[in-house]
């Protein structure tokens, strides 16, 4: 990669510099020839007007001083008549452009300079050479060619060094991602990709990988907890069930006792299944259903349906069940799980509220604009310091053990809240307990 980068840089620099060099050289050469042509036609004109003597005078005039123009006027036999060149520099035919070296006095020294000139024949057979000292151009071209080599070398160096540095930088970062990935594969799920802080594409990749890992870890943790709980919490009731069967057989009982034991066992199996189902549901909610699969749920209608389902039961228990439901409140969610959460809350509220009490169910929008439903009862409530505790699995408060239920009701509600990114708030209802779940509100279905 570094080499490719360097080669590309060198080619680009060469092409650019080559173009510049070529354009400059051609332009300067053209300028020189143009000047010479203009001068020749001027001199030819003068010759026509003033004859060979007049032309000699002009040339002699122009040859004074340090000018860069070169002149030589000769007779038919190329004997010099006037000009600042001593002799015809090189064989040439009339009309030819010629290049030659000549001796130029600079101060006390004589220096060899390069010149470009044209051979012109005047009527009468006189030869006129008009030229131009191009030593400066030659030097410029030489310098340009020289610097081209330097620039090429520099480009090669910079290209290679830059390419290497860049490659090393990227390779090091990709290496770090690979290393982290290997560590994660080796079992350390807590490892995360390092960010360079530059927010470039590699950083974005690392961030996305990290977000993905967070999600996977959360899912795995949820799953692990479900299996842990299933193992832990189903073992003891299964053991109890087994013991009952074993003891029944040991007792050598009559038909009636057998039957009674079997019926009890079936009841226990049913309870076990209920617990098992609740655990699976919690696991499902906690490990997160596909957020994109969630749909618009009318909280008002779903809550209303649940209230309607429980209304006769509340009535029977002598509890006043009151609904305060604002209509058309929508949230994004799983309708089945939301209904189940409302059912569990209402179930609990009715279970713990004594006859003559009240249960209020409300749906609305709170001060921060979130949609919520709330179930508030006038039962014994839950002490403040146990509020977080009751959201854990299987926690049942001392003193409420006589009431039936798997003790999973609120944990499921908590899991449903987590899945919906909803806030679950427990507070005292003086007397009683109010449980509120507040969702990000969906403004239109």
């Amino acid at each position: 990669m570094a080499l490719g980068y360097a080669i590309l840089l060198i080619i680009s620099v060469s092409v650019l510099f080559g173009l510049l060099y070529w354009n400059t050289a051609v332009f300067v050469a053209e300028q020189t020839e143009e000047t010479i042509e203009v001068e020749i036609s001027g001199l030819a004109e003068h010759y026509q007007k003033a004859g060979i003597v007049g032309l000699s005078d002009v040339i002699r005039d122009r040859s004074q001083g340090q000018r860069l123009s070169l002149y030589l006027l000769t007779d038919q036999n190329r004997r010099p008549l006037a000009g600042n060149l001593n002799s015809w520099p090189t064989a040439s035919r009339p009309g030819d452009w010629i290049d030659f070296e000549y001796q130029r006095p600079i101060g006390s020294r004589i220096v060899e300079h390069r010149a470009h000139a044209r051979h012109f024949v005047l009527p009468g057979g006189f030869n006129l050479l008009v030229g131009y000292d191009v030593q400066d151009q030659v030097r410029l071209e030489q310098r340009m060619r020289g610097s081209m080599i330097w620039i090429g070398a520099l480009a090669l160096f910079l290209g290679l060094a830059g390419g290497l540095l860049m490659a090393r930088h990227w390779l090091r970062r990709i290496d770090s991602v690979n290393k982290t990935a290997r560590e994660i594969m080796d079992g350390d799920m807590s490892r995360r990709m390092q960010l360079s802080g530059s927010d470039d594409e590699l950083d974005q990749l690392a961030r996305n990988l990290n977000a993905m890992l967070d999600r996977i870890e959360a899912l795995m943790a949820g799953l692990r907890q479900v299996t842990d709980n299933i193992a832990h919490d189903l073992r003891s009731p299964l053991n109890r069930l087994r013991s009952r069967l074993e003891v029944t057989i040991m007792e050598d009982p009559d038909k009636g006792t057998y039957r009674a034991a079997l019926i009890d066992t079936m009841g226990e199996a049913d309870d076990l299944l209920k617990t098992f189902n609740a655990l699976l549901l919690i696991g499902e909610a906690e490990s997160g259903l596909d957020w994109s699969k969630l749909e618009a749920v009318d909280l008002s209608i779903h809550t209303n349906d649940v209230v309607e389902l429980y209304e006769p039961a509340a009535d029977e228990a002598g509890i006043s069940l009151r609904a305060h439901i604002t209509s058309d409140i929508f949230v994004r969610g799983n309708p089945n799980l939301i209904s189940q959460a409302i059912v569990n809350l209402l179930d609990n509220a009715l279970k713990y509220t004594p006859s003559g009490g009240t249960v209020d169910v409300s749906v609305g929008v709170d001060d921060v604009g979130d949609a919520y439903f709330e179930v508030a009862d006038s039962g014994p409530g839950i002490p403040e310091d146990e509020h977080t505790n009751v959201l854990d699995r299987f926690v049942r408060l001392e003193g409420s053990r006589s009431t039936v239920g798997s003790g999973l009701g609120l944990s499921l509600v908590s899991a449903v809240a987590k899945l919906h990114q909803a806030r679950l708030v427990l507070k005292g209802n003086e007397p009683g307990l109010a449980v509120r779940m507040a969702f990000p509100r969906l403004l239109s279905a």
Binding site: D305, Y310, A313, D315, S339, Q340, V343, D347, L350, G405
Partner: protein, 224 residues
């Protein structure tokens, strides 16, 4: 009724067959989807199909049968109990979906409800059960001479019971079909709804129609 059980767990299939036999039905068994294709015939009134089986699985089997024009009601049995799984089963052509583990009473009630479906056209506008009459269009309910006022949900509940008259319906069936819930509330909220309905249709009449079946559910008895 003649019923075909398609289930690769032969022990489980045998228990189900025994229970259905006790309830007075004739049972055939197939251990996988391919066998079921050979055994299934017009004489079966209900097919009980396990979802996960070797060779041809339950979903494929039912899709195949439906594609072949077989309309026999199908009850899926499955260990997969999520809402998505249920939807998948019903979409493949299943008529009901029961998640394992289940109570035999539940299974029998559902199988019998499915078997009845054949003879009860959904197109009729009037349901009659003894002297109890329900007009589905005017939403009038009468027992004998007296008119009975029902709340919308009570109407739906009674309609379901009448469509399944003389058969046991379980609490879960009621929750699913009348309320649309696929989970069980802990307290017996359904019982209270039933006793309210009973207060409206049976109170003051000599012969009670709505009967509680212990350990199973309820039955609306068609008076002879």
């Amino acid at each position: 009724m003649r019923i075909l059980i398609v289930e690769d767990d032969t022990d489980a299939a045998t228990y189900i067959a025994k229970a259905l036999g006790e309830a007075g039905h004739v049972v055939d068994m197939a251990a996988n989807g391919e066998d079921a294709l050979e055994i299934a015939s017009d004489s079966h009134e209900v097919l009980i199909v396990d979802r996960m089986m070797p060779k041809l699985d339950g979903i494929q089997l039912v899709e195949y049968l439906r594609g072949d024009g077989v309309v026999t009601p199908v009850l899926f049995l499955s260990a997969l109990g999520k809402v998505d799984d249920r939807v998948e089963g019903l979409r493949a052509g299943g008529d009901d979906y029961l998640v394992k583990p289940f109570a035999m009473a539940e299974l029998i009630a559902r199988v019998e409800a499915l078997g009845r479906r054949k003879g009860t056209p959904e197109t009729q506008t009037k349901l009659v059960c003894g002297d109890l009459e329900m007009d589905l269009i005017t939403r009038d309910v009468r027992r004998g001479e007296s008119k009975i006022d029902l709340q919308p949900r009570e109407f739906k509940l009674l309609e379901y019971l009448m469509r399944n008259a003389s058969r046991v319906v379980t609490r879960t069936m009621l929750l699913e079909n009348v309320w649309g819930y696929h989970f069980d509330p802990q307290t017996n909220v359904i019982d209270v709804h039933i006793s309210r309905l009973r207060g409206k249709i049976d109170k003051g009449f000599d012969k009670p129609l709505l009967e509680t079946v212990r350990g199973a559910g309820y039955r609306l008895n068609a008076a002879d």
